[in-house]
């Protein structure tokens, strides 16, 4: 700590000992409450711009879905080999997005990485809402969506069960479990904060938070129980996060279509999921930091750490991606090799190369510290990374279906039409609408955990001094 009041000394200290702190430990607890509660009252104008834009996008999606529902899936220009189109590709994308919330809130919680504390709440909300978005695509792609519940294993007198051999049944089960658990986890971790909201709210809001905070008083006994329960939930959630995307990968790895029938798909999918999720966290970090004036909490060193984490995961993904190519290239499966060549040279080749460039080359921007700390660059880069990851999913579905075993069915001229693009755009609107609503209604920064962080850092610095 600096023990002088001399301005020039401080200046020198700042310049030559750039010991960036994750958070300023002098920040008062009352100030934390005040800042976070204020974010729920009056965000910047940009909030309403984003909210209305997402509402508009969502309406486009709803229009397209209603059109498709009335006319049948032919309205989406799907055809015989191209049976899934953008729907399943975007489904994988959203499932992937949901993984980083769990990474930040559960895995890093268990590893005691306390820099996650100011940002895990919104990451966790991102998990929940992207799972809800992914769930929409499960429904949207069905031919008879009104009978979707046939997939669920519910006891019934007619003895009709789902086919437990089918990865889609595993999918429905895994996603259902993961969604339920992450909602519980998100809500549970929020209870002490909801009590703070309750204590500061008036009118109907007070009733709302009173109901949600479930009688939280902050007694020692409550805190002790809370810690144990929270840790248990975190431990429960981690295997779920890994399993859910492995199972989504099994949808493809279990099928025998060349280009999908690959053993390395589950880890590849999990790595891709964490990758796109981390990139999305950077995007939302920058947006929230500005919109809700969270500069004191979502600090540059935390962004820096997130970026480094993203880079590490990007390299894991690149490695697994190269393994996939190599195993197809050197393997004995001529069909898989042809499918790979078709991806690299066929109709969809520009997208394939763009995917590889955005996914494996662009993350090297994150190596440079000066760029990592430049917000506009990071905004663009994080969006580009997610474009790359969306293209990856597009490349998994479309070229593979276009180039199967049977040459007569090869199609090289299929492109998604406006209905599909509209629904995909609508899903982004739906996600950001829900997310923005959440951040307005619930504290987007965990107040009690930031207090803990400030307290621990303060004690540590006092011990050092």
């Amino acid at each position: 700590m600096i023990h002088t009041t001399d301005e020039s000394d401080i200046e020198i200290e700042r310049r030559f000992v750039p010991k960036a702190k994750d958070i300023n430990e002098d920040i008062a607890w009352a100030q934390i409450n005040k800042d976070v509660l204020r974010s729920m009252e009056r965000p910047r104008l940009m909030y309403w711009v984003i909210f209305l834009a997402s509402l508009a996008l969502f309406s486009v999606g709803v229009y397209c879905e209603v059109y498709q529902y009335r006319n049948g899936l032919g309205a989406a220009d799907l055809e015989n080999p191209q049976v899934w189109g953008l729907y399943i590709a975007t489904f994988i994308f959203w499932i992937g997005m949901s993984h980083s919330g769990t990474l930040l809130s559960a895995i890093l919680h268990i590893m005691h990485a306390d820099w996650r504390k100011p940002i895990y709440r919104f990451a966790e909300a991102m998990t929940t809402f992207s799972l809800m978005t992914a769930g929409l695509f499960v429904l949207v792609h069905l031919g008879r969506v009104w009978q979707f519940y046939y997939v669920v294993a519910y006891p019934n007198e007619r003895w009709t069960w789902p086919n437990f051999n089918s990865p889609l049944v595993w999918d429905a089960t895994a996603i259902g479990t993961y969604l339920t658990s992450s909602i519980v986890f998100l809500y549970f971790g929020m209870i002490p904060d909801l009590a703070i909201c309750r204590d500061n709210a008036k009118g109907f809001r007070k009733k709302f938070y009173w109901f949600l905070s479930a009688g939280w008083q902050g007694t020692d006994r409550q805190w002790a129980n809370f810690r144990v329960a929270y840790m248990t939930l975190a431990c429960f959630l981690i295997p779920l996060a890994v399993s859910v995307h492995s199972i989504v990968a099994s949808d493809f790895a279990v099928s025998q279509q060349p280009g999908w029938h690959i053993t390395s798909f589950p880890p590849y999918f999990v790595a891709g999921a964490l990758y796109s999720g981390c990139a999305a966290i950077i995007t939302l970090f920058i947006i929230l930091r500005y919109v809700f004036r969270f500069e004191a909490y979502m600090t540059m060193p935390i962004l820096d750490k997130t970026c480094r984490l993203t880079f590490a995961i990007a390299m894991v993904w690149t490695y697994l991606n190269l393994i996939e190519y190599a195993s197809a290239w050197y393997g004995n499966d001529e069909y898989a090799k042809q499918a790979l060549i078709f991806r690299a040279t066929g109709t969809y080749a520009p997208y394939w190369w763009a995917m590889n460039f955005l996914g494996s080359i662009v993350p090297f921007v994150l190596v440079f510290k000066s760029l990592r700390n430049h917000l506009p660059t990071m905004m663009v880069v994080s969006l580009l990374l997610n474009v790359g990851m969306w293209l990856e999913r597009f490349m998994i579905i479309t070229p593979t279906l276009a180039h199967g075993y049977y040459p007569w069915t090869w199609t090289g001229d299929w492109w998604p039409n406006w209905v599909q693009i509209g629904i995909v755009a609508g899903s982004f609107g739906w996600f950001s609408m829900l997310f923005m609503l959440f951040c307005k209604i619930f504290p987007a920064v965990s107040m009690y955990e930031v207090k803990e962080m400030v307290y621990h850092r303060f004690m540590a610095s006092k011990a050092r001094a």
Partner: protein, 281 residues
């Protein structure tokens, strides 16, 4: 209660080997032989199928988008190294009628989440329209891509009044959002089996044929019961040395019979007889 039934009968729900553990009817196994040497590519089989199975004619626009509903399609191939006469090979095209191969170990069956497509004891790969929710996973996993999805609500547009009177009353008219495919004219098979059973005998060879086999002017398609050793189909399979549950046939190389993509271990029920062409002329 069904939950206790589930626990009691758990073993019946466990994963089974696709061919070996299936319950099989010892009297019937429907199979087909298609002689490509006899096929002239006239499309009579396709037309007959449309009439028999209530297939909607989708129209030019949907057809060009690849939304056609032809359960049996005639594929057209140019031979390798053919001399070209303008846009076409000098000696004409080669044809291959493609329909559901009624695999004994079908890739589509395992992936259907609701069990809408499943195996019958007489060796058909059946489709339950009422159960289908339209996830199209079966189609994505079908190596032959012979499963057709109802992309539109066809009944009104394909058979405007009074054309609905031409519909075959024995066959369901499918609504939008379900998958369908060749059934080997299951309505005919069931009827023949029922008749034979009341008379206390097995269905005789040639007593029942599919619409495509019936319509083929050159008799390129032979349909019959593989479980009946004396049937024409069984004798051809025997002569061509093709075993149903094998992914690699140990047979004389001069024999013309083969099954499509059988190395994927789908055990298809259709044997194709290779076309014979002299290398010169």
């Amino acid at each position: 209660m069904s939950l206790s039934n589930l626990i009691k009968n758990w073993s019946s729900l466990r994963v089974k080997r696709p061919y070996e553990d299936q319950y099989k009817d010892k009297d019937y196994k429907w199979a087909m032989v298609i002689d490509l040497d006899a096929c002239t590519g006239c499309n009579a089989c396709t037309t007959a199928c449309y009439a028999e199975n209530n297939l909607p004619v989708v129209g030019r626009e949907a057809f060009s988008k690849g939304q056609a509903m032809h359960w049996i399609r005639i594929e057209r191939y140019w031979g390798e190294g053919e001399e070209m006469k303008g846009r076409f090979p000098d000696r004409g095209a080669q044809f291959l009628p493609m329909l559901c191969q009624q695999c004994e170990s079908a890739p589509c069956e395992v992936v259907c989440p609701v069990g809408a497509t499943h195996h019958t004891p007489d060796g058909l790969n059946s489709q339950v329209y009422n159960r289908c929710i339209g996830s199209r996973y079966c189609s994505a996993n079908c190596p032959y891509k012979v499963r057709y999805f109802n992309w539109w609500q066809y009944p009104e547009r394909a058979w405007p009044n009074p054309l609905e009177l031409q519909l075959n009353p024995d066959v369901t008219v499918r609504s939008k959002g379900v998958m369908e495919k060749c059934t080997f004219c299951v309505q005919r098979l069931t009827e023949a089996k029922g008749r034979a059973r009341t008379e206390g005998r097995r269905v005789a060879d040639g007593e029942v044929v599919t619409a495509c086999a019936q319509a083929c002017p050159t008799s390129a398609i032979t349909f019959g019961n593989l479980a009946d050793d004396k049937s024409q189909v069984a004798r051809t399979w025997e002569r061509q040395q093709i075993k149903l549950a094998s992914d690699r046939q140990e047979k004389d190389e001069n024999l013309r019979g083969y099954r499509i993509l059988e190395d994927l271990r789908t055990y298809p029920s259709i044997v194709y007889m290779e076309r014979v062409r002299d290398s010169e002329a």
